[in-house]
Each structure stands twice: as structure tokens, then as C-alpha cells.
Symmetry: C2
Subunit: 454 residues, 2 copies
Amino acid sequence: MKLISPTDSIFLLGESREHPMHVGGLGLYEAPGGMSGSDFLRDLHQDMIAQQDFQPTFRKHPATVFGGIANLAWAFDDDVDLDYHLRRSGLPAPGRVRDLLELTSRLHGTLLDRHRPLWETHLVEGLNDGRFAVYVKFHHALIDGVSALKVTQRTLSPDPDDTEVRVPWNLPPKHRSAAREQPSLLQSVTRTARSIAALGPSTLSLARAALLEQQLTLPFGAPRTMFNVPIGGARRVAAQSWSLDRVKSVKQAAGVTVNDVVLAMCAGALRHYLIDQNALPDAPLVAMVPVSLRSEAEADSGGNMTGVILCNLATDTDDPAKRLEAISTSMRDNKKVFSQLPKMQALALSAMLMSPMALTVLPGVLSYTPPPFNIVISNVPGSREPLYWKGARLDGNYPLSIALDGQALNITLVNNAGNLDFGLVGCRRSVPHLQRLLGHLEDSLKELERTVGV
Amino acid sequence: MKLISPTDSIFLLGESREHPMHVGGLGLYEAPGGMSGSDFLRDLHQDMIAQQDFQPTFRKHPATVFGGIANLAWAFDDDVDLDYHLRRSGLPAPGRVRDLLELTSRLHGTLLDRHRPLWETHLVEGLNDGRFAVYVKFHHALIDGVSALKVTQRTLSPDPDDTEVRVPWNLPPKHRSAAREQPSLLQSVTRTARSIAALGPSTLSLARAALLEQQLTLPFGAPRTMFNVPIGGARRVAAQSWSLDRVKSVKQAAGVTVNDVVLAMCAGALRHYLIDQNALPDAPLVAMVPVSLRSEAEADSGGNMTGVILCNLATDTDDPAKRLEAISTSMRDNKKVFSQLPKMQALALSAMLMSPMALTVLPGVLSYTPPPFNIVISNVPGSREPLYWKGARLDGNYPLSIALDGQALNITLVNNAGNLDFGLVGCRRSVPHLQRLLGHLEDSLKELERTVGV
């Protein structure tokens, strides 16, 4: 047994049947040499099931204390039932991507069993285009979303002829630890002060001060929207890839960043979605955007320097050019505010906000009226080159994050070779017709292309 | 809103992520006229999705009170998201019954969402023999297992040419109520005393007295076994059909009842399974067996007269003839004890024991050492004639009940045309290799056949 760190236990204590606290990812693969996904998967499953060594992260779950689970300590299973964690599924006919997303929605809405190591891997066959899919799921107490993506990437290879089958659960640890490659900011804060419990109130005050400082630079506070409500337990997920070149063309023509264009794509899509739902607020939506604040020069200094930026999405204007400009200005200004904060204050803000979770669990933070932001939009670093798994090409790599009370919709994306792969997760009840957002994202990108003339 | 009755709320309050409190059933169908299961299901799904009227039982879930679910009152949804409740699944290749049972195990181990009406129906295609399957799931607070089976049967027809597609959620109510066709014994007790809370202690004393009275007639108390342990949240299910004629032949040759033969089949199988696990106790296992106590003459008097009988399974002897005799004697003697109990005492015992659930939730009852019984074995009445759904024949109809702390394995069976269909549900951790029990059941029946010379 090993005590669970306070920052990790937040994700266990904050979990309920309505609020699953796992992160997921959906990988879409093309089997090599015209092989069918089903045949390829059968062999792959055999290769995987043969690997019965497990790193500690893949053996741990909350220990049972006096017959109950107290979320105080980790237990490490010596005997992992791999048949339980590694599962095969088929799709009903006609086996469209839509059928895959329906299955993924169900898998993403289901709680992990706390009596077992807190992860699952699902191999999915039956897509009518011959591809296959892999849905992975980790409890956030085990590993955060960015690290989960990195673990998946480490099982893959840039070499299509590399036939070794690597599996997440027995990857040798990198320099530091297999699961978290770098100590997260949350951990840094924790290490400084030994525990959030000890510095809780002051951390919260610092975080709130920093947040308010950013809010002052916004033209409006975040409005109440249909996304900022209590949520139920069921989820819908949607996923689609966009060419990075298209986004880069807009970026170059407009003189902004890739992330600015991504945010403008999202802003336009959210505006159209909310108009459809007859729920567009007068004031513009505010997004919470995790960003890397490291300069190129600092890139090798180790450690993350992640900040969280509040961004005005300018959803109140129907002019895409104005929207893009407002977003770019907002990001630039707030990055500046952030970089000028004292280091401890910046760390505290990031620690509190990079996991929006913390906001809903820790007392006092959500006592703002209206909400401090309407939606989290994360652009996570992925791979520049195409990746392969035993020769199967990773066509799409869709991150699936957490919906929360007050944050019923999450948009996370990752770059994968020449694409940006978007994963949307919404509360099934509060965010109807989630898949329509995909169409709105495409329309929004087209609008931006027309506006800047590419 | 409508207050939840105390007896129904037991199943909501007693539920946790480790103890799902739903009952299920797995139906295996053969599509008519050589049609593939997949094609048939596609049409069937369209027919089903078109039926958007919902009886109250299929609209109700616990109401949210002050932002939380208090399990005090039912809310009735006007707008049921049928896409959520009615789901399609495929099987991975090769699509064996085993793959179906693996999927069913997962579905049966997953909690229902309390923010929605507490039921799901899953249409499953991809069996390699061309058949298809339907898994249904109801919360026990909505409907008990026997009534759930009856609802499914009411959607079917003895006429293979009847092409009407009936669905459980819009069946018109029968004389009394759609969900519970007769008031259950639990309800009878409740109605007598207004609530279990009011007569709790005296009911418990009566029940315990009646139970002890039966225990006195047994040669030994129930031993501790590997089935009588705390359980985890994951399940395994197993299912198989046996010809009723085979069981009847043994019954006639031995001069016992069909249920005696069924219990002897189970007893032999449990003995072999426990020997494999190196876990056979010296003392014989005791089964709790719900039985109908109505005589033929009383059959039309209405109301259930269900009793619960403790049966000595004689797993300590390796002689199948002696085992069958001990079981038959035990059932006869304890039925007599039961029928001689004062009516109120018998009702109380049944009310407490027919839902073994009540035992683990209500305080004081499980303070016995050792456990009062080792396993529940229920033989539920089904249909004598073959049943069809839009012409598709119901080949197998496997009831799937609830595993509990202290009751890690449940065996329930139902007669379906010329078969007895067994559904086994076990805690995935406590009852390893559950499917091997199927082989042991077949071996045990063969032993009985040899013993009586049929």
C-alpha cells in the first residue's frame, strides 16, 4: 500500500456515477497491406494478451480499508485479470464511424471498477471501411489526459515496418516515471507545500486573484450558457480530423497563431450551435485555454510551464474576421498578464485551473456568479509524423476528456501527422445533437478561409 | 412526483458501484425464413424506434431533490431519449455464443443511470450462426425478475406468423398494473403494515425464527464457502439450455419433482466446481430455493403464495443417487415446516428472503455465523410453447439475476418451450471460470441419468 497524494485523491473523491473522472482516447487505424481490420485485430489481440507484465501504474487501484474503499491508499495487484481490462467489441451494421462513436459514447460514460486497476483498453472491429479502432480509458487519479496520450504514442512507431507490438501496460519507465513523464504542475505545487490541504486557502486566494486579474482584461464576464449547468452521467462523444495545412493557411494569411485559428473555428461553431439551440447569450463566451508558456529557448530546461488563459471567443459577433481578431488579442493580452504574475501565483492558478475538476470539488471557487469561463478548449501536442502500430497507420487520434458540473462540453484536440484531431465530449442530456458541432466546425473553418482569402 | 415505496427504495439505497441492483435477461432468437440476424435486427430496430409511447414504469427514475438524488420520490420523464435506452451492438469475430456472453457480462456489470428511466434494451448482432440476441435490463426498484420475464413474454407470440412488433415499454397494462402483474409478497407485507420501517424489527424476528426453524431440520448449518464473501463490481454470466425431457425422465424414474432434479443437477455441478477450486467444504451446501406453495385447488385464488425453502444440497457425498434423495427429502420436509408456519410468519419470511437483497441491506440479518444459506437457486415459470417475435423464434431465454455481498453466485432458470434455460451470474473476482459450471451441469445431469438408468 502507498498513500494516495491529495491531488490524485481529488479525482477519486470527486467522482460519482454522474461524474466519471476518467480520460480517454479513440484511435482509428488502417491495417497494413489491405488486411481487414477484423483479421488484423485478432492477431493483435493475441500479441497483446501474451504480454502479462504490468507496470505499477497499471496494477494500482484504491485499497480496501475495513471492507470499504476509503481512497486513502493505493493497492497494487500482483494478479491482473487482463481479459477484464483488454476487451474486444464489434459494431452493428452498417458499421459507420457514427456507430463507432455511439459505442464510444457508452464506453466513455461508464465508471471504472475501483476494485481493479483503473484502466481499460477496447479493440473495436466492424467498421465498414475496413479500419479498426482502439478506445483507451484511464482514471485521472492514475494519469492525466496529456500523459495518457503520450503513453499511447510511446506504443507506436514512426516506422511502418516495425512489427513489434508494444502495449501501454508494460512500457519501461522513461527517465522519471512511466505514467507521468514530467511532474505535473499540480505535483510541483504539492511538492512545494507538501499538500494542497496545507496551503489550500492561500492557493485558492492566489488563484482567484490571478483569475480576476485576467477577467479584468476581458470586455465582459462569462455569460451563463446551456453548457454551464449540472450534468447527468451519460455522455456523447464526437470526433473528426481537419488538415493542419488548412489551419496553417489561415494562420499565415491572418498573422495569428495556429491556436488562435483553432479557437476561432471553435468560436464560430459554438455560435452556430447555440443559435440552432436558440441559446446564444448576448455576451461573448469565454474559453479556458491551457497553453504552454515556455519560450523556444526554455524548451529544453525540463518541467512544464503550462498556463491557463481566459479567452474571449467573441461569439457575439457574426463577423468571422472580427472574431478571429478578438480571440488573437485576448490570447496575447492574457498571456502577458499571466507571464507577469509572480511565479507562485502563476503556479497556483495553473494548478487550480489546468484541471477544471478542481474547481468543482474544492469549496469556494465556483461561488462566482456568473461562471468564470464557459468551456475548456485544449490543444495538446501530438506527433508530427505518421505513427504505426505493428504496421497499422494511426489515421485519427481523438482525445476524450471529462465533462463536469458547470462544464457540460469539452473540446480537446491533438495534432497527428498532417491533421488536427478533435475530440468532443458532452453531457448527453445538456448538450443535444453534439455531432452537429462537427458540421459547424467545418463551416466555421470555411468561413475563416473565405474571410482571409485562402 | 410520487413517493417511492420503502420496499422499492431498498433496492436503490442498497445499490453501489460494487452492487448493481438490476435484473436482466438474455434472449437468443432465430430470424425467420433463413434471414440473417443482422438484416432482421435492422428492420426490427426501425419498428421499435417508431414506438415512442411509454408506460409509466418505463418513464420513471428517482427524482432530483435539491440538486441530489435522495431516492425518496419517483420522477416521470415526459421526454424519453429512446436512442439512449434502446441500443445496438455487434460482436467481435468469430461471433461465438462465448463472445456474446462476454459482452453480456459487461452489460450486466454496468450501473443504470439514475437520471434516466431505469431500463435498457440491447439488440446484439454478429453471432456466427446467424441468430441474434436481446439483452434487457431493469432496475429491481422498478420491477422484479419474475415480472421482468413476464413483460418480455408479453411482447412475444405463440404464432410464428404474427408480425406485430410489440415492445416492453408500451404494453397496455393488464388487469392490475403493467409492471407487477400481481402484488408481490413484499408489497402484501407492506400493505398490511404500511411500511417495513414500521414493522421492521418484528418482521425480522419472525423471519429469523422461521429461518431457524427450517435450519433445525437440516443435518448441518450452511458452511462457509468461496461464494459467501464480499464481492466486486464486475460480473460474469453464463447461459445454456437443457432439454426438459431429459430432466423429466430422471424425475419419473426417481419418483421426485422436476425441481428436485434441477437442484440435484446444480448440487453435482457445484460439488465438481468446488473440487476443481480445491474449495469443497466438509459440510453440505445449503441452497435457498423460492417455491410456489399454492396447491392446484388454490391456483385460481389469485395472489402469490411463494415460499422460500432451505435445501440441503448434499454436496458432501459423491453418490448422485444419495444426493438426489437427500435433496428431495430436504425440500419435502422444509415445505412442510413452511406450510405449518403461522401465515404472518410465513409472509414475513418470504418477504425477507425472496429478495436475498433485503438480507444484506437490512441490519442484523446477516449477523449469523455461518451464513444461513450458500446460494440462491430459482426455477421461474416460463412458457410451455415456443414463442416468436415478429416471426423470430425465441431459442433461449436466460434470466440473469443479482449477485450480492455474501452471495457471489446466483443460478436462475426458466422453462422455455421444451427446454430449461439456465442463467448464471457470478462476481467476476470471487467466482473464477464461471463458464465451467455449464460443463459441470451437463456432467451432473448425465450422472443422474446413469444413476436412475435412463
